[in-house]
Amino acid sequence: MKLNKFYANFKLKCLYIILVLIELSDSKAEVPRPRGVALSRAPLYDPDTNFTCFDGSKTIPYNQVNDDYCDCEDSSDEPGTSACAGGSFYCLNAGYKPSILKSDRVNDGICDCCDGSDEYSGRKTCVNNCQEMGKAAREEAFRLAELLKVGKQLRAELSQEGLKMKNEKQQKLGELQKHKEEAEKIKSEREELKKKAEEVEGKALEYYKELEEQYKKQRAEKEAEKLQQEAVENFKKLDSNQDGLVEIAELQSRQSFDRDRNGEVSEEEAKLFLNNQESVDLETFIEKSWPLMKPFVKIDSGMFKPPETTSEAESEDLQDQEEELKVEFGESEHEEGGEEDEDEDNEKEEQPEEHEEEEHYITYDEETQKLVDLASEARNHYSEAEKDVRSINDQIRDLEQSLKKDFGPDEEFASLEGQCFDYTDHEYVYKLCPFEKSLQIPKSSSSETNLGRWSKWDGPNNNPYEIMLYEHGQNCWNGPNRSTRVKLSCGAESKVTSVSEPNRCEYAFEFQTPAACREVSSAEGKDGDLHDEL
């Protein structure tokens, strides 16, 4: 750590010394060289001999170097003009760092070098602001170094915390795995007991099964009768001219059949209900028409809600009811899973109203009831054991998943998991929950839009931990699934600093965190090729 700090300071000092040296050398003994040529390349331009293009393709008189005509295909004869399309221009930028421009920036009326050396045509006057830029750059470098210093400290702490968390998780995992064995043992014991109890119960219940079948059949018959009765009633209602046929015109007068809701019942719409005929008689009506019509008539009379509007909760309730009925007949446990077991136990006493009266007439004799009770008890015991196993498995799975996540080379990002960071702009609140998801919530409502679930680190090779990618968020209308790229940078505290949407439904977050405070391995900057110039 200390070594790093020393190195950073050393680099800064070196840069400063070099800059000072350049300034000195610049003012005292300038190496004569053509305009736009770096010091290191000066020897390649010898005014006393002809000039040979760097690629060796051509030799020209020296006075054709920088004569504003491009002779060399590799652009080497025009380092100081814009004559060659592929050339480059070197600015010394004394006081700041040198830069290399494309030659098309030379004399284009725009000051590109801070020393203004790229604009020498006389048409444009540039102010030399290298000193200010140098100063600002040094201050910025200093600020960054300071930030890095603080940030690294924090990062180390985060890293320790992360490692600790990892240890704890591993430990917990070990414990759970032990518990799991035990729990599974209990589970299989109880399963055995349950099986035995159910065998006995099953035999006792065979008689009742038959009763049940009969009952079901009766119920089905009743329902069919009811449906037919309904159909007949409605047939009479619809057959307004009482001719024993329901006709198109008779349907058209009823808004209930306006399927496309355009305000009128077209012939097509009417025919759809009439078995594609002009009219139907009672028999066809009962068989074909009424089953189609029923929902529409019911919607209108408010008795029926179309399935879309049935909320999930309601349909679950219905399921529950059915399952409860099955439990009563002791069938439930032959199915696997049965996730709602717990609720069933609680709600068992409060029977659903509608079917109740008809359901309750089967009762067991005392002995059978006892066997049933015993079996139920065995089932309950078993399901508890099973729940334990499941709960342990869930915990193991969560832990394993978390342990699988890449929280950085030193676990420094681990403590970000489980936290969320908000960013508010004029319209939305954005939430970044690292390693989990990103969200967008309109200020005016609380409906969340998922902008992506944690996918992977997606930074460049030299620093994969620079970008977090969240994918497979909510689908965009007429577009892709939402996704978020989070760019990390070093900061003294963890926060989201900006959110944008550069592409439709592709979000870009910027996130500062001490966890990102580290020096990235070199081969990063584009200035790299300038070092040899110094």
Partner: protein, 904 residues
Amino acid sequence: MARWSLLLGICFINIVLAVDKNNFKTCEQSSFCRRLRKYQAGDSVYQADLSSLQITENAIEVGIQNTQVANANLKLTLTAIVGNVFRVSVDEIDGLFPRYKPQFALNGEPQVAKLEVLQRDQDSVTVKSENNKATLTAKPLKLEFYRDDVLVTILNGKGLFAFEHYRTKPDEGATDPQIQDDPGAWEENFKTHHDTKPRGPSAIAGDFTFPNAQRVYGLPEHGDHLALRTTQQNNLDPYRLYNLDVFEYELDSTMAIYGAVPIVYAHSAEHTVGVFWHNAAETWVDIKNSKDINVVSSLVNLVSGSKTEASVDVRFMSESGIMDFFVLTGPKPKDVIKQYASLTGVHGLPQLFSLAYHQCRWNYNDQDDVTTVVANFDNNNLPVDVMWLDIEYTDAKKYFTWDPIKFSNPEIMVNNLTSTGRKLVVIIDPHIKREGGYFLHEDALKYDFYVKNHDGSVYEGWCWPGSSSYLDFYDPKTVDYYKKLYALENFKGTTHDVWIWNDMNEPSVFNGPEVTMPKDCVHHGGWEHRDVHNEYGLVHTIGTYQGLRLRSPNKRPFILTRGHFAGSQRFAAVWTGDNEAKWSHLTASFPMCLSEALGGISFCGADVGGFFNNPDIELLQRWYQAGIWLPFFRAHAHIDTKRREPYLFSDDVVNRIRTALRLRYVHLPLWYTLFWEHETKGEPVIRPLFYHYPDDENVLDIDNTALIGHSVLAHPVTEPGETSVDVYLPGGKNGYWYDIQDFQLYHGGNHKISVDLDKHVAFYRGGSIIPRKDRPRRSSAVMHHDPFSLYIALDDKQKASGTLYLDDYESFDYKNEKRYTYLNFDFSNNKFTSSLIDKATYPTEEWIEKIVILGPPAGITGAKLTSKTLGTINLETSYDKESKSLTIRKPGASVLEPFTIELV
């Protein structure tokens, strides 16, 4: 995005995948088209009353009667116009209502010419003016037009002339022989829309026969081929001219889209003749080309050895207005196009930046986005001149305002752009948000600036802002107010470098009939929208043009418009609207813009990449390679598409697009010179092959190839996975064409050119001298002082010539103070000569840095330059064996001084 989805969902609820044709009328669904199309060829019921003939120095006037209808008296005036043009107007005498004549298409009243009566008898009269002659026959009415004594066109030759005078509504049960009880004559329904038609039927039709014509061109704007097709067969509806915002318009279609230019050119090897139908109402045009009709008989003739006469019939049908048309007698394509330009005008020389590359997207999100995009272009050495902002820059779709959050500091954004020579274009549409507190809406209500319903109340339609009303540019006080909105103190955040995009000005009304304004709406002067519809986009851009002149008096305005009409070229550039990222739309961009160019609108382009959907990477590259050869060069994309700025792709793609962009930029001097010549000579900037090769039958149907001036032939690759393309080069074996990339020589004829992704299929014509600026720069503004390179493409006689125009590239000084330089270049007998065409000069530092001769003479060892200031100096030359080209090194001469260079 959620908000967008919602709004789009509302707007396009039933138009999701492609054009919904049901939203737009067919001829059969349009009462007047249906009525007029029922006419059968035969004897016309119209007669001229020669006893009423009046003759003046420039015109004759005669009464016309419909022999089937009493008291429907018409008056026909035939006027001679300077430049071999006849104008014919037919109007009612004492009609119930005045009939509309377009007010803005013509570039001032055409100059009349002397006319003399050659012959006159009981049944006919013949007049002559310049090289034209016209014979009017009385019974039945017929007008024949002659050029140099050759009959070139006939009005009412088929007896299909029609003129429905305004009439009172007949009593119930009474029949009207002319209207034939068409149920839509007195009121008309389309879908849920009702047209009250308070003035009843008023349609007109003119039928024109063009003897010997092989093809007929014109009638932009359609998503169709250049040569017009026969409409009365294969269920093809007439070409419809009715400016409409058609969502995802379809190709190979005669359906109306955004623009209407009612000009046709009938072409044969001998004669090219134009008819300009000067009418702004909904118009349908039936085309009948004998070559399409006579397929069977021509087979018979082939056997029998006889040949049927070629001929073309064109019938214009308009819903209202006076009948007013011009006959342009050519005789060659060049002449007829110039005649049309003399009537409707030209696009004034644009600022150079507008010919460079434009980068658009719906939408750049905010001011930082704009700045970043330009920085990315710079970092990748991709040139760009103009950034564009679509509707989202406004504060909730209120034009002349900025989104206070996303564009909180427009001045800074604009200054960032202009510091590197860039410009900004922002959108201003004609619909105005009806929102309390919005100054423009409140002023418009207070001062009565809006278009009205037929009952006099303000018309409300639905557009981007939701409920909107539409400025009535027919009211001078509206225009006076509107143009002041562009003043920098009124449109805060803009500068003299911000220019304007006028969109949605068909006008587009999301909930209106056919997505436009109801025809019974009323404009200032009592004109129904029916009368003026196709002209609305034009008056919108005139207001904008005046506003920009007022704001920046010495800068040439740049305006882009979608809705357009004859004459729009005087005020704005045009693009082909909301195209799609499909190969077929890339292909269509050439015939569509060539057609516009023939219609006077040279400054035309198509959205590079395609507006809707995402182009694949090959299509995008090919589109850049093609787009550089259309005058207006802008990339644009729909809000639902992925970003596609060229720097976003892999290096090879960026390199290819950079090559294309640079090809555009090196040729900017050529484009600029061509626009100068467009303004001064009326010549189109891009031209179909038949323009220069009128008697070459091979080129009649070629519309995938454009000539840029007469120097460059461009044939873009418009098919995926192509390894070769078939190109026809005109001029026969003496025609020389040089590949612009490797300078390889091709002779006229059919060629199969192999292509890879890097290949541009484009040629310099042997015989031309092309001025270029070969130094790549980041924008055109910073190329101002760069030297020129001249490419001399020699013809079979070792000759070539060309021109170069230059000035300050932005102001009106070239016009007001004659500050420009116009050069003629000539090469013959191994000697190059640069001379000034006009005495005018623009004091520039620009000079000639290089001359490249393609197909040079053998044995050249050097060159001698002679000019007044330089005297005679020797220049080096070098010959490149591979490209067979000779380069003259650094002439160094200023463009201001004449000089010669002799090869030795």
